[in-house]
Symmetry: D2
Subunit: 107 residues, 4 copies
């Protein structure tokens, strides 16, 4: 179970606000089957069962923003992929939180 | 109000699990004043009132992981900084969600 | 003409040296047609005529490293894609250098 | 010897060309002592003897671009830091090239 983080930045937009373009890209995630996603303040996190599927979705999101008036897009993708253990977005956060509690002397 | 996303990856750790190292880095955030932070599945998001302060914290987190047995660390930092509007982690997500509702024909 | 920057980090490798894994990933670039690539100290830069092709290659490189003994890989990809102008690796550097000369009072 | 990769993207610039802003940021590197830097097609690579110094320079570059008319900047920084071996930009590339020659049956 790989996890992907993706952020898409349109350049040359006149306004410094780009949430409308981000929403266009996030919207297409609703039509994808077999994925989970969530928004963070800096990116979108997507879980799927293969890197191939994740990169295919990344390409779709990128092309969605690079259309009409937009002339240039910089897309950043990070994939965390692990073979020995099922990786989930929730599981990763829980794992760090558990360690934090241990560091703080909790049980 | 700049926002920073930081992720710290230790190399050469024998185990592929690195949440303990991430927890060490996140722990020092509790001692910092005037910041807000939250964990995402792929990184930590930190809000503060200056880029200088954020980069100072990033350096501390980096050094915390690169200690003892750890010989190499790759740290990735992204800063989103805006002059014309107060940028907050919550505000950024709300802004995209509002646009998504508009795209979906909501009010 | 999009340009992709890719860096692949294997986790849990015992040794902090990972150049052998990077070489495995770069090696498969020699078999790809219609691309140009170059190594930088922090990543590999690849030029091709479509984002689809670049992401396909990124997936191949990622899978090449995540094999045999390697249990976890973190891959970072950045794509710079521009519709209004042909983007090339050489052209991008030349463009900044030209601006630098202008800033320094050159001709 | 840590190595930093930095890329600075201004938003809301009307034009999709941003090399002038990148040049402004790179220009200040000439005034810094004790560093080496080089341009790649996607970023600037900087070598120095401490992470503190590198992050200080990153902050300067960021602030240089976020001025005058520019209202928003997204800066991405990656630091590769190794304790057990002197890390240099040239050395990292040579190390991968050596491994590639070995893979190809060279000596």
């Amino acid at each position: 179970m790989p996890i992907m983080e993706i952020s898409i930045v349109p350049l040359g937009t006149e306004s410094a606000s780009v949430s409308g373009y981000v929403a266009d890209a996030v919207k297409i995630l609703k039509e994808q089957k077999g994925i989970k996603y969530e928004l963070t303040p800096m990116a979108t996190i997507i879980e799927s069962d293969s890197v191939r599927k994740l990169l295919n979705i990344a390409g779709k999101m990128h092309r969605t923003v690079l259309k009409d008036k937009i002339k240039r897009v910089v897309t950043t993708i990070k994939i965390d992929d692990r073979k020995d253990k099922k990786l989930t977005a929730k599981g990763k956060i829980k794992s760090v939180q558990k360690r934090l509690r241990a560091l703080n002397g909790g049980f």
